[in-house]
Amino acid sequence: MCQVDEEYNEQLEKRTVPSVSQRCVKCKEGTAALIIRAGDAFCRGCFKDYFVHKFRAMLGKNRLIFPGERVLLAVSGGQASSSMLAQVQEGLSRNAPKKLRFTPGIIYIDEGGACGQSMEEREGVIAELETMFRATGYPFHIVHLEQVFDLPISVLEAVSSAPQRPEGSYKAAVEQFVQNARVKGSCSPGEGHMDPAVLDAQIQLSHLDTQDLANGTPPSSLQHQQDLERLFASVRTLTAKEDMLQTLRQHLIVHTARTKGYTKVMMGDSCSRLAVKLLSNISLGRGASLAVDTGFSDQRYGDVIIVRPMRDYSSKEIAFYNRMFGVPSIFIPGLDTKAPEKASIQHLTESFVTMLQADFPSTVSTIYRTSEKLHTARPPHSSEMETVAKCLLCLCALDTKEAEEASAFHATLVSERLSEKRVPESAQVGSASTADTVGQCCSSGVGQEGGCSSRGQGCCSSNLTPVTPDLKSLLCYSCRLTIKDMTGVESLPPYIVSEAERRHRRSQMKKEISEFLLDDEEDEVAAS
């Protein structure tokens, strides 16, 4: 039953075997070397042009990266991000038409500590990547996941972005840049990668930089290694582990970008990757932030903008390109490598999409196109970023407003409450006690709060014993699920715990002085 009107167009029908023509569809001359999509056979040369053009077209279309800007490339060593690195090299090379004009740097996050790799394996991987990165001549930063235990609180604050550049300024900036380049010597060192002397200096600098980071600091102190182990051991499910890893990795990247003076970060998410991400994020309850999580640009951090220039390539195209043009990449086992299909929601979604894609070749592109039609549900009231309360972990706008109207969030709270100890005045517990469960912990009840009772006290007393603050009220729907899968929050890195305490203190303070505040515009804890 419950069959709703389902019309399937031809696109959903089973694939037909592509007719292999021997000639390239583009130049009609070269011998076809590969078939990208059904029917589209390309020769080697045309495929390269097509691939290279797509990268620059993506950046050109979005006009987000300004000439001379410092851009951090997040490279994991995998196929997609390595390919992205190769495209940047290609675009910056001397003889490239329509040259790219930014200044790149590379970051690699060593996650071996969370994925159970031995120290030798990790060092081996790093050595291999270092050779790869050194060959590019760009500065690079090797950051260990253990370093999250040294992160400052400021990572969790969305810095208000630099004043928006007005429309049309992109063009002006490009012209300015080209002019500067022409007048030799007048360009500032930051933008001067056209000048050989400056270039040399930069390379030298970059080597200094990497020396300092890679070898200067020990890979990670034993203490932090244990901290990290404890943290991941306290997460009960692989779903939550993957989510936690993603969050921490993001924090490290943003922090590195900020401290090293990068204003953009490029991620290598391919279209196949994003389709999986979109579907698994929906399954994880992240619907409200789908657009920032999967769109071309992600401005949630304010001063550092994440861009995803590889989002038009399928993983197949990337694999072909890498293979045909010798782009090096390495395989590093992750959390879900070799895991059974149902090990985590992310892993399950990936195998589901892959399975469906094999039968219906338009699956990935259809899902991906869905993402382009979406944007965040609650657009910030004004352009002011600060007025909207942000999630402590993912920094997305909170989607957990205690609303009167029916919602899945509300219904879940009702279910939990009804399944726990029944309160005497059962008839109209309605909204009153629902609010308790959400974590406005100033209610006196200790008994009713099954959810956070294991974590101890409400926040009224948190000034006295600020060991384990209640995080729930500071998190978005999805991050709550992740934290719920943890045995305790004590093992979280200090910056998260301290920021939570700080926010609680702020809201406590605000509550105390609320009657003296004149404008009662609802701005929550996030305003700092």
């Binding site: 069959q3 959903l12 149902k342 929601i345 399950l348 869905t370 979406l374 879940t412």
Partner: protein, 343 residues
């Protein structure tokens, strides 16, 4: 060692709630389940006192539980509703005729008036006849489109103010996933709404009071209440593509039980970028039913059946609407395309 109910703390727990994982005794589960539906009804303002509400009854578990719970709640909380059962007879031998027997028994058990409208009287076609012409592929399109309109027509015959259907949380979540997989942004936006606003002439507002109830809990409720329901899949087979979404959702649920609610939460918080073109709602020029095209889907499908061109309504053939309206014959080339049925 018996596990005690986590709610009353006295009786022995007999089940573990699929939704929250709590162990509950029978009474506490009934109470929680009914109370949740009540909360949904109240917080979404689904009904007003004095309204006549038609319950879409198929005889399956969802609608049987819905009818039961609504009757209980109507008495417990004095909603002041006049409830009645509304069934559609698609004319599927060996499936619907049996399930309608269940509905008739429900009518007596719950003492609710029952109205059955059949495809045969409304459209002149039973599903059996349609399948004979269309084949097993795409027949769900006919059935789904016709049922939607049939329910509305039945509701209007009885002067019903609102129709409620037994769609549960699993159905809603599945539809969200399905619409993402199909890239159907218009439906993706609509599918999580708990009720349709009255959309004008000829349409009765609908709502889903079980929207937040897990399918498994509905079965548990029916099982422990010993409710009489009919459980057989439609003989004309469920659709393959929706089957993928369903299987995926079940897998998600087994990995993380809250996933069903999480998907609905995602769906509720999505919103569509401005500037994405949306179909405009109008009315069918032939029958007056709501439609985004000149002709509503049901009229197109019917026209196809009557002309012996079953594929007319499958896929998009908007170009042909003008011809159908003007009662003109189609060209041979057009006819050839629409006749072909591949098995």
């Amino acid at each position: 060692m018996p596990i005690l109910c986590s709610s009353c703390g006295q009786k022995r727990a007999v089940l573990k709630r699929p939704k929250t994982g709590h162990s509950l005794c029978k009474e506490c589960f009934f109470w929680a389940f009914e109370e949740e539906v009540h909360q949904t009804i109240v917080s979404a303002h689904l009904f007003n006192p004095g309204e006549t509400v038609g319950i879409g009854a198929s005889g399956g578990k969802d609608s049987t539980v819905l009818a039961h719970v609504l009757k209980v709640l109507n008495e417990r909380y004095n909603y002041g509703l006049k409830l009645l059962l509304l069934s559609v007879d698609e004319g599927i031998t060996g499936y619907r005729d049996d399930s309608l027997e269940t509905v008739k028994r429900n009518q007596q058990q719950y003492e609710l008036p029952l109205k059955i409208v059949s495809y045969e009287e409304l459209y002149g076609w039973t599903m059996d006849a349609i399948v004979k012409q269309v084949g097993l592929k795409n027949n769900c399109t006919f059935c789904g489109v016709f049922r939607r309109q049939a329910l509305d027509r039945g509701a209007m015959m009885l002067n019903v103010d609102k129709i409620c259907t037994g769609h549960n949380a699993d159905d809603v979540a599945e539809t969200v996933l399905m619409n993402v997989l199909r890239g159907d942004i218009a439906r993706l936006r609509r599918c999580t709404a708990i009720s349709t606003a009255s959309e004008g002439e000829g349409v009765v507002p609908r709502c889903k009071p079980l929207k937040y109830a897990y399918e498994k809990e509905i079965v548990l409720y029916a099982y422990f209440k010993k409710l009489d329901y009919f459980s057989t899949e439609c003989i004309y087979s469920p659709n393959a593509y929706r089957g993928y979404a369903r299987a995926f959702l079940k897998d998600l649920e087994s990995v993380r039980p809250s996933a069903i609610m999480d998907v609905i939460h995602s769906g509720e918080n999505l919103s569509v970028r401005e500037g994405v073109r949306m179909p405009v709602q109008g009315n069918c020029t032939r029958c007056g039913y709501i439609s985004s095209q000149a002709l509503c889907k049901s009229c197109v499908l019917l026209e196809g059946l009557n002309r012996g061109l079953p594929r007319l309504g499958i896929g998009k053939h908007h170009r042909l609407h003008g011809k159908i309206l003007a009662q003109e014959p189609l060209t041979q080339e057009e006819e050839r395309k629409l006749k072909a049925i591949d098995f």
